[in-house]
Symmetry: C2
Subunit: 120 residues, 2 copies
């Protein structure tokens, strides 16, 4: 299944989701699926958070708290949930305020292995 279809599955199934991106820790996106009716600059947000994730990943390794799996960042306007796919890539889902965070986490966890497969 192509990246975009997997990302669309996640976005379509999560109330309040505005878009999802597959991206490298270098901040370069592979593919995305973005709902047209939103005002978020998803590319910018993801690129900024890629740097944060890279640091968190390093911190988790330093702390020997096991491999990083997920980072969720909530602000007044939105929640961004990033799930690690493999050593080099992660998937990030942005949910507008009031959206279904739990469902977002569930779908990312469910679809991440398919993204890992598509990245082979």
């Amino acid at each position: 299944m192509p990246f975009k279809d997997i990302l669309q599955t996640v976005v379509d199934n999560v109330d309040g989701a505005v878009g999802a991106v597959v991206m490298g820790y270098d901040g370069i996106a592979i593919d995305d699926f973005i709902k047209t009716e939103n005002s978020f600059d998803l590319q910018l947000l993801t690129a900024e958070y890629a740097a944060v994730l890279k640091e968190v990943k390093g911190t988790a390794e330093v702390l020997k708290s096991g491999l990083l799996q997920e980072v969720a960042i909530s602000t007044e306007r939105s929640t961004a949930v990033a799930r690690v796919i493999n050593e080099d890539y992660f998937v990030l889902l942005v949910i507008a305020m009031g959206g279904n965070f739990g469902k977002g986490r569930f779908y990312l966890r469910r679809e991440a292995p398919k993204l890992a497969e598509a990245l082979q």
Copy 2:
């Protein structure tokens, strides 16, 4: 109510919680409540994550995505949920793998205003 009592309320009510800390973005803890029967180096973990949080806070401001409210970091062994108290301080709760993440978020949200009051 003293800090420790508020932190204990959070830890005692969340399945799998191993400890909670009130800390400044400079990485210096004000107070903590830690269950004795755990192997986590909570002080080290919190100090490391303080740096991460500071960066995320800056990023959220740059992105104009509203004030930062919460950051959750999950690894293979644990989840650390940090909730912003005010401009200078946050509270961090560490939950062991398999613990109740949703309840952890709920109690942090509920108790954060009391911590803000205690910090006045």
